[in-house]
């Protein structure tokens, strides 16, 4: 992937966010914008955003080992994934919605477009959600997802990961990303992860094993904080800019 074509169109900080065009990830080739993004002043539209958009989040939604509603428990290594949602000034973001989805322990998604011969688990939907608490903390109980094959290139395998969708307080803070697991040899081979431009930013997508979070006779603990954009500077500071 070191010799892949990398586009110049990037939204946000170039040390952090991937380019839209990263040819090693083939689906970017016909979907990446090619014209420069337009810089515009921040207005109320960007400095506001939806609050908790789903009113019916229940505690059961955060337990992916049991939320299939079958009465049975998902097969796999039980894990706790927890951390905080913060802005880039370190402020906790309370009461914001996180939605997650993932493959089962065998690396299979419950989805019509995932047809590789990994077994499905009738007790695992692979979807969950929760709201952060007053300190910005979220917590999921799930099973460790498996790696899975995809057709991007010969013998392509995605490293184990969990998809996260986060709102945060503003339009600016909206983020969809993926959390990875430590010490996975597939990281270096994965064009989606490698599209992140710096080692430092890639490392921040990897959860940390935390033995203090591990519960005896029950589940392994992983810690992963999510840092989303806050408003840079004073609202409307650039509003005096003319045509």
């Amino acid at each position: 992937m070191s010799n892949t074509t990398i586009g110049s169109i990037i939204r946000g900080d170039r040390e952090v966010f991937p380019p839209y065009l990263y040819e090693a990830y083939q689906s970017t080739r016909r979907r990446a914008p090619t014209l420069p993004l337009i810089d515009v002043p921040l207005t109320l539209t960007e400095l506001t955003g939806p609050g908790p958009v789903i009113s019916s989040v229940s505690p059961e939604d955060a337990d992916l080992t049991r939320n299939a509603g079958t009465g049975g428990e998902a097969i796999g290594q039980r894990i706790i994934v927890t951390g905080r949602v913060l802005d880039d000034h370190g402020r906790a973001i309370p009461n914001t919605l996180l939605e997650i989805w993932q493959a089962n322990a065998a690396g299979r998604y419950l989805h019509k477009r995932d047809q590789w011969p990994g077994p499905l688990d009738p007790n695992f939907l692979g979807i969950g959600r929760c709201l952060t608490n007053a300190e910005g903390v979220y917590r999921f109980l799930t099973i460790r997802p498996g790696a899975y094959p995809w057709k991007n290139h010969p013998n392509a395998w995605r490293p184990a990961h969990i998809h996260f969708s986060v709102f945060g307080p503003f339009t600016l803070s909206r983020l969809v990303t993926q959390m990875y697991f430590p010490d996975d040899p597939l990281h270096a081979l994965d064009p989606i992860m490698q599209s992140v431009p710096t080692e430092e930013a890639r490392k921040r997508l990897i959860a940390t094993y935390d033995h203090n979070l591990t519960e005896p006779e029950w589940a392994l603990g992983y810690h992963w904080d999510i840092i989303v954009r806050g408003p840079n500077g004073t609202p409307f500071e650039s509003a005096e800019v003319g045509q």
Binding site: R30, T34, P50, H89, S195, R202, I227
Partner: protein, 193 residues
């Protein structure tokens, strides 16, 4: 350097529908019977660089209410809140790339220097192949206030049309058409937000 702590973006991938578009997470209808404002339908398609519809995208919108007030603590303007209007929409594209929303036309919101912005809706698109979502604005093509909109003036004149939703004729209800072209001819203007 504060940005160095940020969590990077990754594609939503192909398998998000059962999670992000489960029944109670879809928000194609933003209005309740008591919501104040002119009912409009927004519909359009998402296209890739080959002009092929994108069947696995998700479109989210965020807008002010009919009075021009956002349902958010940072908007402390004098315009009235509408408790029956949250302003958030989310819709997946279908096999032909279509998405739609039933909402109200937003009022004009302040720019911050005494001027008003023309009525507009913030639009974000997520899809497999988009390593970071794209963010744009929908304006209403038949809105005279567009001529003085302070944000639209940052967009090159020859690309402004990509942000203008066109009113469809021949329908009893008010329908605005807003196609989103991710790449190539007629590429939609996206913002560096």
């Amino acid at each position: 350097m504060s940005a160095n702590g940020l969590t990077s973006s990754q594609t939503v991938g192909p398998f998000f529908f059962p999670c992000l578009l489960r029944e109670d997470a879809c928000r194609s209808v933003l209005v309740l019977p008591e919501t104040v404002g002119e009912r409009i339908r927004i519909e359009g398609r998402v296209f890739d660089g080959d002009g092929i519809p994108v069947p696995d995208a998700m479109v989210e919108i965020w807008q002010a209410n009919a009075h021009g007030r956002y349902n958010h603590p940072l908007d402390q303007g004098p315009a009235a809140l509408d408790p029956s209007f949250m302003g958030f929409g989310r819709c997946g594209t279908d096999d032909d790339g279509y998405y739609w929303f039933e909402t109200i036309k937003p009022g004009a919101v302040p720019f911050g220097d005494g001027r008003l912005q023309a009525p507009h809706i913030c639009v974000s698109v997520f899809a497999r192949g988009l390593l970071n979502h794209v963010v744009t604005r929908l304006y209403f093509a038949d809105e005279p206030a567009n001529a003085d909109d302070p944000v639209l003036h940052y967009v090159p004149v020859d690309r402004q049309a990509t942000l203008l939703a066109q009113r469809e004729s021949g329908s009893e209800s008010i329908v605005y058409r807003f196609d989103i072209v991710l790449q190539g001819e007629g590429e939609t203007v996206f913002f560096n937000l």
